[in-house]
């Protein structure tokens, strides 16, 4: 047990307590108010309401993934592309 370990444990303990404390203050789970009515979520409700009409897809998640947030999906595909390129470049032959 050296100095570095002690600092690490203290840092870890502070972060752990902070996370548990945050968990107790998190937004209400289940999104239901006191009268058992769904809490209003304007962005998501709008998507559920208009996804079929606007995009024509029955699956609202797919219409979010490929239409409303399609640019994120392009980024996500790019991340995978970068990872494949990275893995191949790191296992390449070093001599020509």
């Amino acid at each position: 047990m050296n100095n570095r370990d002690t600092y690490a444990i203290i840092f870890f303990a502070i972060v752990a307590v902070a996370f548990i404390f945050t968990a107790f203050n998190a937004p209400s789970f289940g999104l239901m108010d006191a009268d058992d009515q769904p809490i209003d979520r304007p962005m998501d409700d709008k998507i559920i309401e208009s996804a079929q009409e606007e995009v024509g897809a029955n699956n609202a998640v797919t219409s979010v993934v490929f239409d409303y947030r399609g640019f994120d999906t392009l980024g996500e595909a790019t991340v995978l592309f970068a990872a494949v390129a990275g893995v191949i470049i790191l296992f390449r032959r070093l001599k020509k």
Binding site: A8, V15, N58, A60, G86
Partner: protein, 115 residues
Amino acid sequence: MNVFFVPYLAVAALIIIGLYAVILKRNLIKIVIGITLIESGVNLFLITLGFRENSTAPIYTSSPGGIMSLPVPQALTLTSIVIGVAVLALMLTLVIHIYRHYGTLDVRKIKEVEE
């Protein structure tokens, strides 16, 4: 007393266990596992935020009707999972290389020589 925070405690537990592995473990593979645990925690947090009581999946095909859970967190989690796979692949590649160079996965034996 309401029990609405219980799912979030699971999130906090996953993240804390992951951080424990990253900060205090000495084995590179365990550090990698720790990062994937943090990632699972964050994904669980995202998907928990999208849950509505008594709701169905936001898919209209043969839907029984009623309220639907939120679609955006599901899409975000999907993106985050794929990103996690990419990061994991790259981390394991580097671990393989470190093992080839040093013959060990112990952080203490892998010391950078300062020049």
